[in-house]
Assembly symmetry: D2
Homo-oligomer: 344 residues x 4
């Protein structure tokens, strides 16, 4: 059994990691840490873990005990921890944003912070498994992608890479369930306020997932991608549904686009291209590591419309982290991630 | 008291009309009709109307008894009924789609049907109160707008009319609550299927509200408007939230756009332009006749993003019908529509 | 127009009062106060009140300006304010718990506090309109009932008063929507935690609504009522549904019990006894001031089962307060409360 | 790999079985049948099964191909099928109600039907794993329990068996999510009707789970159990929460009752007795095979209140069926059922 530690185990991403790793047949959680719940048993924080013998310790000890260190902290705290862990020969999978941007100018602009350990940023690999598998395999430091970027990039990458759409005028209208807002209390995630409501936030080009999407799409396609990104909150727990609009720039039919997508992802267990005429749906990926994608063309306006959907806590966070760990450790990539989504 | 009848009173729009008219101080419901529930008391169909002494009769009698005839039938049934009612000197407010398009070619294309009574189509007025008030006032036949068109047109009209955005490349990403699907049972509105789910439908330029939006926007702006329209279902009962994207075509700041919108709607009780920095939200219009609009600009991509939201059953259907009736009858326009939206 | 003030206007009960009073034709809100949002406009706290010209001032000024003073504060703050207001000749309607118990021993035991102004407690009237109408009419100080007590007492009072059931062994299994938990943030009202969840709280005889129910039922029936009370939270915004169990103590049929209830409430606009075979439902009272009651007998176990349901924010709080105000001011009792519940 | 077949695979229970068995490491689904979707691929019925190579065939062939036959049909169809399957040496796990009652008089009274194959009823074992493990192990025909009975019996059995409460006066107030109503369309499971609603059904001693609970509790405790049972529908997908009330008949403290329960279930992986002061919650069992139980005493009224909760589709149906299959086949009892519940 490979030993894993989770730093920041009491946030939603940490808790989802525990839930997934608990049933993973080749790893065991040997340590967890939490600043907010120091010395508490995990089942005092999450009652669904009743009986799990895990106590929130400190970061030092978590680094020491684990072979793989998952970091599930708010951004800004991972560089120091990663350095320590890597120096001790550990594998680090960071769920935060600290290593997701390679371009330091971008990072400064969007996070108002400089790279502390520049070489770590060079060493790190962006953990979008399906697009970066070879690099991830041989990496010791993974920048696990954000939820919106995972859903958006997987959904639009083939169309951009094949030059089907204009890469500089893409609109991503993304809808997220409330777990995306995490465990921190706020009026905007207070039940009576957000139930039976729907609204947007961070419009006007201000969400930090924008540079993550653009920079990584550029990395994979070598094109200057530019997106308009609108995050919105809908009253459900899990799921992201991205409706992505692109201007079709060449003569190509929906059937041909469908074939392109099928081919791009034909070996990918976790990516389903829905049969033409069917729609991707949140429910069909919820509680699973799948990303479902459906393709639509509006001939009146010559737009490609891609619906891409994931479970934000699994493929958009903890599940993809496990997928990356499996890859690095040489396990079957879907180990611990076999669950199908809910039928209802 | 003015006498009103409702034809097709047992669908969701009919029921919402009853609810609103019940507290209207200057009208009384004298007759309702229903094909599905003939001879039933309305409280056998909707238990919230317990004790209301209204029996579902036939259409003939409903036309005869009322001075104002609301028609809440599926499209395709209103022409004949309207002709009869108008011939008897009644005022007709049709909630269906039969008179919403003036262009017969469009109607044939999208509804696969010809105009039966061509002169009625010429007589009818599109009931988007705020944009068509003068015509409505003197009209005897109102084509009450669809829910998506109400929300979309109110949201984008000033920007198009002022030439702020390119009218031929507008994207409307619209999210609707489940009451939009009506009372008819289907798997897609079965609780366990649509709760905790989100999906799209009718993508690719196939929804019948497209010509309604384009034709009416053209009528008010004299521009050839072209839209990409994506309807989506979200797990809540009421509300439409339209996120509308337009390419800004001239040098104009968000503040200036805000001033334009403020001015366009300054006399409109039911239209709120949210202060800059605030977001329109479904909850802030739910259970009311208001339309809230918030404005956002993405300077990176030079897009105007308008969030427009209404209660689909009120401003998007029964409430606007009452507003139009008030206008025609010379009542205060907000009579029976005073309710503020829910705080939670 | 009668002038009204709301002290504590920014909690959920205060906000609901504003919403209801805004459309009341014979009163105007002249002042509101709030400790948490001093000097803020109400639409900075609740965006659905956009444009309402109400600023959160202090309590002194609210008392001075209004003829009727609504107090919507947590318990423990009303005695002092009420004294001041009454001394200035105002009418006070207290939405908190401070005057709901007449028995000081009970109050001490359950609220760990003594009566400060004993005479006020004697002067005050319990505002359960339908059972205490005559006293309320001539009262200047109303203790507006709690939400659970309103729903429970109205549901079970006729059965106890007529000796149909054993008054000392009554079980009230009550389910409440999340607005019952108010605007204060907590993990138990955090969307992702309580959505798709259901749980109980305060079991074992510890909820402060127990003495309120028992004491008031005793007052109206002259019997020593004893209840087991189980509050539970269900994922919906509004509504209380109380399932009440009593042991039938005499030979009486369901039809006869139904007739008893019909007769007790025959003149009550806001109380519906559902036809036998039908069930009370939250939706059929939601957004209205109604209380719906359905009656069921289990002959196998000789139990009377009463389902009683209200909108916790309206009949269970702000609506009943308005009803009481109407009564005291000599208005039609349903003024401002005419709204029917939602059909969907 | 053991071969299993599912008869009636396209209802909700069948679909949940497919989801669970898909990740079971020691069985494979070799055949499914469906009358409603004959010859369809399962992913045409449930899109979350996209790519699963399972076609809905006929019952004959399903019986022939499988070693274990799950029957997920409405009641009334299992006797004939079970006979055939048992005659061919198969193991049968029936998810319907046909074999749940041993007492033919009870069966006639509640199901208006006689036993067709009396000897099968004698052979069959009630599949409440924790209480009937030894019989199940050696059985070839399992009557898998209903969802309400599983939750209710596990929750109250120790208290009855130990004589802590009066067995003849038990009230079970049970709340269920909407998946309990299955896939069949009806107005009462239409989203806009049941969202933001809560109501009861089948009150007055008419629900068919009553004899199942009473008869089986009698079987395990040898006492004449009598229950008042109130099923209620709450707006969530999964979960049953039963609040069970019993009259305490002897001097015993809550702590002692807690110890009794702990001891009864100390070896049971899937049953959690919540620490005193904590509450069972639907979320803490949802998506898992666990049953969580919390204990509460109201000393004022001398009642024991037990909160018992399960996922109705897993421990209340498909999960328990898998648990029973594991037991019969000699597998680890939790194989395929390792998933922890959701944290959010």
């Amino acid at each position: 059994m490979v030993k894993v530690s989770i730093i920041g185990a009491t946030g939603y991403v940490g808790a989802e990691l525990i839930r997934l790793l608990y049933t993973h047949s080749k790893v065991e959680i040997v340590a967890i840490s939490s600043n907010s719940f120091k010395d508490k048993y995990i089942d005092e924080v999450y009652e669904n873990f009743l009986g799990l013998n895990l106590v929130c310790g400190d970061e030092e000890s978590a680094i020491e005990k684990g072979d793989v260190i998952f970091i599930a902290l708010p951004h800004g705290f991972s560089e120091e921890i990663s350095k320590k862990a890597l120096n001790s020969g550990k594998i680090v999978i960071d769920m935060g944003a600290d290593f997701r941007l390679k371009n330091e100018e971008n990072y400064k602009k969007w996070y108002e912070k400089e790279f502390e350990c520049k070489n770590l940023h060079q060493l790190s690999s962006y953990g979008l498994t399906e697009l970066n598998r070879e690099r991830i395999k041989s990496s010791k430091l993974i920048a696990n992608p954000g939820c919106y970027p995972t859903c958006s990039i997987l959904g639009i990458y083939p169309a951009i890479n094949e030059g089907i759409i204009n890469e500089s005028n893409i609109i991503i209208d993304a809808k997220s369930g409330l777990t995306g807002a995490g465990r921190t209390l706020s009026l905007s995630s207070h039940y009576s306020q957000c139930n039976e409501d729907l609204t947007a936030y961070a419009l006007g080009g201000s969400h930090r997932h924008i540079p993550e999407i653009e920079e990584n799409l550029k990395f994979y396609t070598n094109k200057e991608v530019k997106i308009t990104f609108s995050p919105q909150l809908v009253p459900m727990n899990r799921g992201i549904f991205a409706t992505i609009y692109g201007d079709i720039t060449k003569a190509i039919s929906l059937e041909e686009i469908f074939e392109v997508y099928k081919k791009y992802y034909e070996k990918e267990k976790f990516i389903n291209i829905m049969p033409l005429g069917k729609y991707a749906k949140v429910k069909n990926v919820s509680m699973s590591n799948y990303c479902n994608i459906s393709l639509h063309v509006d001939e009146r306006t010559n737009k490609l419309i891609v619906c891409s959907t994931i479970d934000n806590m699994i493929k958009g966070a903890a599940g993809q982290a496990v997928q990356n760990m499996n890859l690095i450790l040489g396990f079957r990539e879907d180990l611990g991630l076999e669950a199908l989504s809910q039928s209802f």
